[in-house]
Amino acid sequence: MAALETIFFYILAAVLIVCSFGAILARRVISSLIFALVWFLGVGGIYFLLNATFNAAIQVLAYVSALLMLLFVAVIPFEKEKYSFWGILKPRIYISALSLLIIFVTLAWAIVDDYLVHILDIMSGGFTLSRSLSTVYTIGERLLTDYSVAFELVAFVMFILTVSIGMICVIKQNEEV
């Protein structure tokens, strides 16, 4: 049903926006991380709405479970940080807010301008959502045929990253000893 889609879209949009503001403006780091947790779940939901189920799964797996665990571990020493009240007066905050507002308005208008012209196309199905559930299959096909080089490269880079991080940790441990 189209109505369900609409409702879920707006709920998820609200969640995303609230959580991002929350993550930024939270006093303590831990609360900011909790907001981020909910935010990732929201993005997973958006992906699900777009029929990109595989991506949604990856989102939840990678970000929500593994990464936030890591961040929670790293955050423990900083729990005691407190922030000054007078930070609210920094002009940087307002200037950047204003410029971002301008950027947003301009780009949104750029997007929407097209939309207003093609509103009839939308109605008559100019861009329609794909309803296929076999996105996994298509993704796999893409990865291993068209984008196989990129796939290999990324894997290689990740490998090297892991190895170098491991090396650094081992060396540092050896130095301490």
Partner: protein, 107 residues
């Protein structure tokens, strides 16, 4: 009204733009490094939403956008890990996670 109720490609695009701008503002505002990294994640994922939206609505046969969104996710995670490592080094040196204390390049 049909604009509000029949959501299409453009709604997702505008949502991604909003998230992007909020994340960028967060980068400018936040004092803590952890928060900075979290806002960087926001930005990257907003771009990912953009890609996935286009892939689902326009590029239905190839779905290249989904693939690219995967790549974005992978790199975002790697960058986050590196950011945390750097944070640990800095914390050992400066005993605080305050971005405003990192002004060695001043002047």
């Amino acid at each position: 009204m049909s604009v509000v109720f029949n959501i299409g490609l453009y709604h997702y695009l505008i949502l991604a733009l909003v998230i992007f701008c909020i994340g960028l503002w967060g980068i400018v505002v936040c004092k803590n490094i952890i928060k900075l990294l979290v806002c960087a994640e926001f930005i990257l994922n907003a771009a990912g939403i953009n890609f996935v939206a286009f892939a689902s609505y326009v590029d239905v046969e190839n779905l290249s956008g989904l693939v690219f969104s995967l790549f974005i996710t992978i790199f975002a995670i790697a960058e986050l890990v590196l950011g945390v490592l750097l944070l640990i080094s800095i914390y050992k040196y400066k005993r605080s996670a305050d971005v405003e204390k990192l002004t060695d390049m001043k002047g």
